[in-house]
Symmetry: C2
Subunit: 221 residues, 2 copies
DNA sequence: ACCACTAAACTAGCGGTGTAAGTTTTGTTG
DNA sequence: CAACAAAACTTACACCGCTAGTTTAGTGGT
């Protein structure tokens, strides 16, 4: 049954199905043959549209990153923009937690990720941060967001609390919290983000003077 | 050639060889057959000592985590202890960057990771942090360290700077820095860690009073 | 209207993977 | 010395990513 009247496969359709499949069954269970089956097609047919499995995963990851909102850098002060970006970034990743391991480790050439980095870097430089500092800040926040989305020890705790209690006495309490895994993760994220931004604000004042350099892209210094 | 006079395989020997192999050739290239070959043995022989490939990887990951130094929590104030731990943690991960993706995504039951979490949590609580806060702080720092070890955009930038310059104007400078990838990563880590600790210190003073609660485990409050 | 060409599916198959099953021999223990 | 466990072996299964070659439906040119 070759060359149907209407193509059954599209890059977009493949990516959407792949995303749904990964969301539903996890990254290890995701294979080209299974993806093809979900599309009603034989395995190798995918290679008419993508050169490699990683290229498909890159497209999926790019779709996830593309949902991140960086508009704050155009309208708000750098700290508020960073905060909004970080939360949006986190939301995008936790919406598709199963591709995060791939996304986090990946160089790859994913336009959305580069566009995001560009927006953050540009916004920080425009706010007066020295270029090198802007690079570091963007990277540090990415580290934090990606790490938080990757998974917590809470997820790793086993069901039986008694099993570890004897060996690791302090974890008794923390262990109980594993039930509220998600809220722990979010609480840790909120706390860490606040601390990071607080520290950055102090650094900003120290390095650039409390007068503030170029505040919002207006009026030079 | 079954059952040699002296066993050729040991759990320890397997883990050591696996670590070396992953360090040398990367995680994707690591397979049970290749590991067995490196040990002068057929593939399935490994299963006399480990039930599954993941169990081997868990052991490797545990070995890496085991090198993290948490002794600071016994001797220094919480902020210094956190700083020392974070750097030690980072050093342990960057010493074996290739298993980090596995380690980061994995819950797994790895005693060293649990011992580490226990030491951090205990140290923070002893310093006066409320238990919930201690959990969050430990998690936030793990997020940051794991994220930073996983990979930076610097590593992801392609060789040809001109290729992206047109599309993402702000990245021109950052792009050049890709050559100094390692120093960028480390700079971002140092900056982020300082900011985090600064923010936490402020929070500590605000929440527990500038007098400090129980400073070093002595003298109740 | 025909013909060449391309696109998009197919089938067949290669080399590799993790691991289960059963075999054989060695070392240890009652 | 017999019985048993341990630790290697061989064989084999189902799956993996991907290549190669085949077949046909649609498309552009004359």
């Amino acid at each position: 049954m070759p060359r149907p009247r209407q193509p059954r496969l599209t890059r977009q359709l493949i990516v959407e199905t792949a995303t749904a499949l990964i969301d539903a069954e996890g990254l290890p269970a995701f294979s080209t043959r299974r993806l093809a089956a979900a599309l009603g097609v034989q395995g190798p047919s995918l290679y008419n549209h993508f050169a490699t499995k990683d290229e498909i995963l890159d497209a999926v990851a790019d779709g996830v990153t593309g949902a991140v909102d960086t508009s704050g850098f155009a309208s708000r002060d750098w700290a508020a923009a960073l905060r909004g970006w970080a939360w949006s970034y986190r939301r995008a990743l936790t919406a598709h937690p199963n591709i995060v391991p791939y996304l986090a480790q990946g160089p790859g050439r994913r336009p959305a990720a580069l566009a995001m980095a560009d927006a953050v870097y540009g916004g920080l430089v425009r706010a007066g941060w020295p270029p090198a500092r802007a690079t570091h800040i963007g990277a540090a926040l990415r580290y934090f967001v990606a790490g938080s989305a990757l998974g917590s020890f809470a997820r790793g705790f086993v069901e039986d609390p008694e099993l570890y209690a004897a060996h690791y006495p302090h974890l008794r309490q923390a262990h109980r919290l594993a039930e509220h895994q998600q809220s722990v993760d979010e609480g840790a994220f909120a706390l860490g983000l606040d601390a990071l931004l607080h520290g950055l604000a102090a650094e900003y004042d120290r390095a650039l003077g409390p007068l503030g350099a170029v505040e919002s892209g207006q009026s030079s210094g």
